[in-house]
């Protein structure tokens, strides 16, 4: 067989229009199946916080996500006639998810020369468990995946055509992606590998200069973040004081906050088990075999690599997934699953591309393998829509609950200590003026300044916490003694709550007075 037979440069004129079709389909699909309210099943607190950007400028947790903040500004300036949480979730997750699926089509189409394989790749990615869930909740990982696939696609074009412009464009996109998630640093070795492999083309001052310039431009997103911290319209910062000093901003971006989890994942096989769980539940019973077959065919194709750039293309896609894997195993958060998309996406698309690459030389299997994958993907897409639309909004009745509970506080302006999830859902309503006031809503570990400031500390803990909040208050203020005040709630309350009053032991508490 000749080189030309496998030389799949021949750009299909229809590909861009098919890609646009895929993009539109998944935008409608994810929009239709969007999580029906504030929060999400993956990390309700983070999602509620990002959704708040839909109506108010706030600072989220480190490293700051300036790209998402810009997206928030865009959503707010559009003033769409939909709920802010819906608009924000759609903009930051559904649209990037749809873009990632369209790019998956383009990548597989280019590596296999087959439109059907491309469609199968996009469908299987779009309906994979974690992808479908994250693309319909306010999470940053669909956007991370869209960036990853954008970069991979440009790199593929570079490997295929050897035109340095593609590589520079990939670097520009890469620099931009840091505004979404610093996890993208894991991709650097892949870029360096491509650079070394094409040193003769790329190691030129003009190109290196352009790359450096683009990286600097990408970094300016963090200047935007700094600017936001100094805007009077920024209504809330999760833990960085406003306005911060330069040192505080650096610490915030570096994420020292989560430092305890760095490396903790290596202590057990747990993170590995969870990662494999994510792979197998992408498409239960099917995704692991597809990945295994794809990887085997890729390895078996080693000998043909010299004759076919597409093998290197598959290697690039798979290498991208591999590049993120160490982070998944090293970072020890129990909810590590949220981070898995940049591994799952390239692995799924890479292995399907590997199968398509193998089948390209075998017309008969090519037809039925691609057809079977596509049909399975379509069935999964329908099934997943059913599963996604079954999710319910956990905080739908939050405001009425607060309206019942807060007025029962033993003091004016109660200190309300909450779990992270509930605090972030409350924030969404608080900044819209929908929560009972005056009240100081805090997550349980951010009550220190209020405890310090108040002479007598009283308020509400919702949901209950085995009364540990009181132990922390007494720990911080040994001069106070805390007592529980019962709170009346309707039967079978979703969030049981208790009131508390911490006062110096010698003073008689108002509760005892009233009795």
């Amino acid at each position: 067989m000749s080189n030309a037979a496998f030389f799949r440069v021949g750009s299909d004129a229809r590909s861009p229009s098919i890609a646009v079709g895929i993009l539109l389909f998944w935008m409608v699909y994810y929009g239709w199946c969007l999580f029906p309210g504030i929060g999400g099943m993956l990390n309700a607190g983070d999602s509620a916080k990002f959704q708040t950007l839909g109506h108010t400028s706030i600072l989220v947790h480190g490293p700051g996500y300036p790209f998402i903040l810009m997206l928030g500004s865009l959503v707010r300036s559009l003033a769409l006639p939909v709920e802010p949480w819906w608009a924000m979730t759609f903009a930051m997750a559904a649209v990037p998810g749809a873009i990632a699926n369209a790019l998956a089509f383009l990548i597989t189409r280019r590596l296999t020369g087959s439109v059907v394989f491309g469609l199968a790749s996009a469908t299987l990615l779009g309906s994979a468990g974690l992808m479908a869930v994250q693309s319909t909740e306010a999470e940053v990982y669909p956007l991370a995946l869209a960036f990853v696939f954008g970069i991979v696609f440009l790199m593929l074009r570079f490997i295929e055509t050897k035109r340095s412009g593609y590589f520079v464009a990939a670097c520009g996109l890469y620099a931009l992606s840091f505004g979404n998630h610093l996890m993208m640093v894991m991709l650097a070795p892949v870029g360096l590998w491509v650079m070394v492999a094409h040193a003769q083309i790329l190691l030129r001052p003009r190109i290196l200069g352009a790359i450096a310039l683009l990286l600097c431009l990408g970094a300016t997103q963090y200047l935007y973040l700094f600017w936001v911290t100094h805007q009077p319209t920024t209504a809330y910062s999760e833990y960085m004081p406003l306005p911060p000093t330069a040192g505080e901003v650096v610490n915030y971006i570096a994420g020292t906050y989560f430092g305890d989890l760095y490396g903790a994942g290596l202590a057990s096989t747990q993170t590995m088990e969870v990662l494999i769980g994510t792979f197998s539940y992408a498409h239960p019973g099917v995704s692991i075999p597809v990945m295994a077959v794809g990887l085997s065919l890729f390895v078996a194709g080693w000998r043909q690599r010299g004759r076919d750039w597409a093998w290197y293309g598959v290697a690039l896609v798979l290498g991208t997934g591999l590049a993120f894997t160490p982070f998944m195993l090293w970072y020890g958060a129990y909810d590590i699953r949220a981070f898995h998309l940049p591994v799952l996406g390239p692995l799924l698309v890479g292995t399907i591309s590997a199968i398509g690459w193998w089948a390209a030389k075998r017309p008969h299997p090519r037809l039925w393998v691609s057809g079977a994958l596509l049909i399975f993907g379509l069935v999964r897409t329908v099934q997943m829509a059913g599963d996604l639309t079954e999710r319910t909004a956990p905080f739908a009745d939050l405001v009425p609950v607060l309206e019942t509970v807060i007025p029962q506080s033993p003091v004016e302006d109660p200190l309300v200590s909450m779990t992270y999830f509930m605090r972030m859902a409350t924030l969404y309503h608080e900044l819209q003026g929908e929560t009972p006031m005056p009240a100081t809503y805090r997550v349980a570990w951010r009550i220190h300044d209020e405890v310090e400031r108040r002479e007598q500390v009283g308020g509400i803990v919702i949901p209950t916490d085995g009364e540990q909040a009181l132990r922390w208050i007494e720990h911080q203020r040994p001069d106070l003694h805390c007592e529980v005040v019962d709170i009346e709630q309707p039967e079978r309350a979703s969030w049981p709550a208790y009131g508390f009053l911490c006062s110096p032991p010698e003073t008689t508490s108002p509760i005892t007075q009233s009795e």
Binding site: A267, G332, Y334, W445, T464, D465, E467, W472, R492, W495
Partner: protein, 625 residues
């Protein structure tokens, strides 16, 4: 050549046409040849035979001979042979079609192939007969009627209905859309019933073979085989929207149960074959020495049903089925509306019917686990029901449980009362959790992390009430659980505690919450004792001990809303055998069972303190403890 072929063909066609015409003519001409009276005699013999001599055609019925060897009776009436005799049941039909045998007829004899009753309407009346069913009424069957020299022809019912008369004055169909064939292959070969009918919007196919129908009412009964096959749900035929919703509710419940049964690796219970000794006595039906086969599952035992009132058994079964239906539906509706404590619980429908069912089997495969021996017994007696389940498995552990439900003495407490006791020994939690996990729909993202270990548990409680909420509030009992050599999921306690020992700070602006390290926590032993009373579960004591750590907990769980309030302490030890305590981390568990909140308290790093038992807060213990 061509000419000869054509003429041959023409001859053949002519011949065939001629003989066809003759045949049609003979058939058309035959009706006058069918003698009216012998046909009546034969049909009466037939009816007599199958009804055990209880009925015959009314004298005024007109028998019309029809072409093609048929005799038809339009709007037939049936009367008892002796006037004024009490009847157990009433039959009417649109028409009876008798198919006659050709050759005997040519020889002047009338023989019936089968009798077809079109749209028969059978009403069972209150009586002393057990099932009130024709032909197998169990009493007063004239043997001669059943033992004719030549087997009587078959009886076929087409599109029939069976209803219960004088029961609640309602005219509800017991069974509808009945297609049934009663046949006796030969006088010595017993009886075969093939039937299909609709009950509760499901088509049911029943095949019954009885070797010696005459012995049915004897002590031993007759050997027989019953096979029941359930068809799919039929599309709801009209009805108002509310009743459609209710049907949907029960169908969904059924579908979910069905899915759970399949997921457990049990055969779907929609095709059952029972072999055994069938017997039928006044007010009672029994299958002794029964072998019940459901898919791959074979169980041995006995089944009996008897009516404890004067109503026929069929009526009692219908009352029970309707009562159970209404009770389940009423409860399911409240649960659907998120109001489970209001779900009514009633047992009155158990009255009137006694059930005794006991089955056991060996080497049963359930979800890849071999249960060496399992037994099930269900009895209903005087309105009290008792269900016993026991299983023994080498690899899986032992399980034994009994639940007793009865209506309390009317003068004291008329509400349903329940008692439960269950014992588990050496049950492997991993496979058990896997089975439960497999039986529920898979999570959208990632695998469930399942606990492991060997579980022993003892549960005893009693409760009473008219609704689920009342019952939960009235539960009095205890649970004690021991779990050995396993692991808990959700985090690595030792690594988390070690990070505190190494100076990790948390619950501050700067460091945020205590996020537990990912991983499993292996343990040597978990012991938990729970008291159930006043609608709450009081965790009197719960300890978890493992290498390098021990945890103590006590608190309360409100059963109705699942609200929890638990305090505990997690302690890190310097070495497995050491008495040196490195860290004490008090913690609390709040929120609800559905959405628990685990909150870390203020840790104490105490190197010098001697080791004591893990601290268990006492303030949630019930008064007087």
């Amino acid at each position: 050549m061509t000419y000869r072929l054509t003429s041959l063909l023409r001859g053949a066609v002519l011949g065939l046409t001629a003989s066809g015409l003759v045949a049609v003519l003979v058939l058309l001409l035959l009706p006058p040849l069918i003698p009216g009276d012998p046909v009546r005699v034969r049909i009466n013999e037939q009816v007599h035979s199958w009804t055990g001599g209880a009925l015959e055609l009314g004298p005024e019925t007109q028998i019309a001979a029809q072409p093609f060897l048929r005799a038809e009776i339009a709007e037939p009436t049936f009367v008892p042979p002796a006037a004024g005799e009490e009847r157990d049941w009433r039959v009417s039909a649109d028409a009876i079609n008798a198919r006659l045998r050709f050759m005997p007829l040519l020889l002047g004899r009338v023989e019936i192939v089968d009798l077809r009753l079109l749209r028969p309407d059978i009403t069972l009346l209150d009586s002393a007969s057990p099932l009130g069913l024709p032909g197998i009424s169990g009493v007063d069957v004239p043997p001669a009627a059943m033992m004719q020299p030549t087997p009587p022809g078959d009886i076929v019912l087409i599109d029939g209905v069976v209803r219960l008369g004088n029961v609640d004055a309602g005219d509800d169909d017991l069974l509808s859309d009945i297609d049934l064939r009663l046949s006796r292959p030969s006088p010595s070969e017993g009886m075969v019933v093939n039937a299909a009918f609709v009950v509760d919007d499901r088509r049911v196919h029943v095949d019954l073979e009885m070797e010696t129908p005459l012995a049915l009412s004897s002590t031993d009964g007759t050997p027989g085989r019953l096979s029941v096959r359930l068809g799919p749900h039929l599309a709801s035929s009209g009805g108002d929207l509310a009743s459609q919703e209710d049907t949907q509710l029960l169908d969904d419940l059924g579908d979910r149960l069905h899915a759970a049964v399949i997921a457990l690796g049990l055969p779907a219970f929609d095709a059952i074959v029972v072999d055994g000794q069938f017997s039928l006595h006044p007010h009672a039906v029994a299958i002794n020495d029964a072998t019940v086969t459901v898919g791959d599952l074979t169980l041995d035992g006995q089944i009996s049903l008897s009516s404890s009132s004067t109503a026929p058994l069929a009526a009692q079964i219908q009352t029970l089925a309707e009562g159970a239906h209404t009770a389940i539906w009423a409860a399911a509706r409240e649960i659907r509306d998120g109001n489970w404590p209001e779900a009514p619980v009633s047992l009155s429908w158990l009255d009137g019917l006694d059930i005794d069912l006991s089955l056991s089997g060996e080497a049963i495969e359930i979800a890849a686990v071999t249960v060496d021996r399992a037994s099930l017994s269900f009895t209903v007696n005087d309105g009290a029901a008792r269900l016993d389940l026991a299983g023994r498995s080498e690899e899986f552990g032992n399980l034994e449980s009994a639940i007793i439900a009865q209506v309390g003495p009317t003068d004291m407490a008329p509400e349903p009362q329940f008692a439960f006791h269950g014992d588990m020994d050496d049950v492997s939690v991993g496979p058990l959790a896997q089975i439960i996990s497999d039986a529920t729909s898979p999570p959208l993202i990632g695998t469930r992390q399942l606990p492991r270990g060997t579980l022993s548990a003892e549960t005893r409680f009693t409760a009473s009430g008219d609704s689920l909420g009342q019952i939960v509030d009235a539960i009095i009992g205890s649970v004690s659980v021991t779990l050995e050599d396993g692991s808990l999921t959700g985090g690595d306690v030792v690594t988390t505690l070690q990070s505190l020992r190494d100076g990790r700070e948390f619950m501050t602006e700067e460091y945020g919450p205590l996020i537990p390290a990912a991983g499993r926590t292996p343990f040597d032993r978990i012991e938990t004792r729970v008291d159930l009373a006043d609608g709450a579960a009081r965790i009197l004591e719960s300890t978890i001990a493992g290498d390098l750590f021990e945890i103590g907990m006590a608190g309360i769980l409100v059963l109705q809303d699942g609200a929890m309030n638990v305090e505990g302490n997690a302690r890190l030890l310097a070495e497995a055998t050491s008495v040196e305590v490195e860290v004490d981390l008090p913690f609390g568990v709040g929120g609800t069972l559905r959405e628990p909140v685990v909150a870390a308290g203020v840790p104490r790093l105490e190197n010098e303190r001697p080791r004591e038992e893990a601290e268990i807060p006492t303030r949630f213990r019930p008064a007087g403890d």
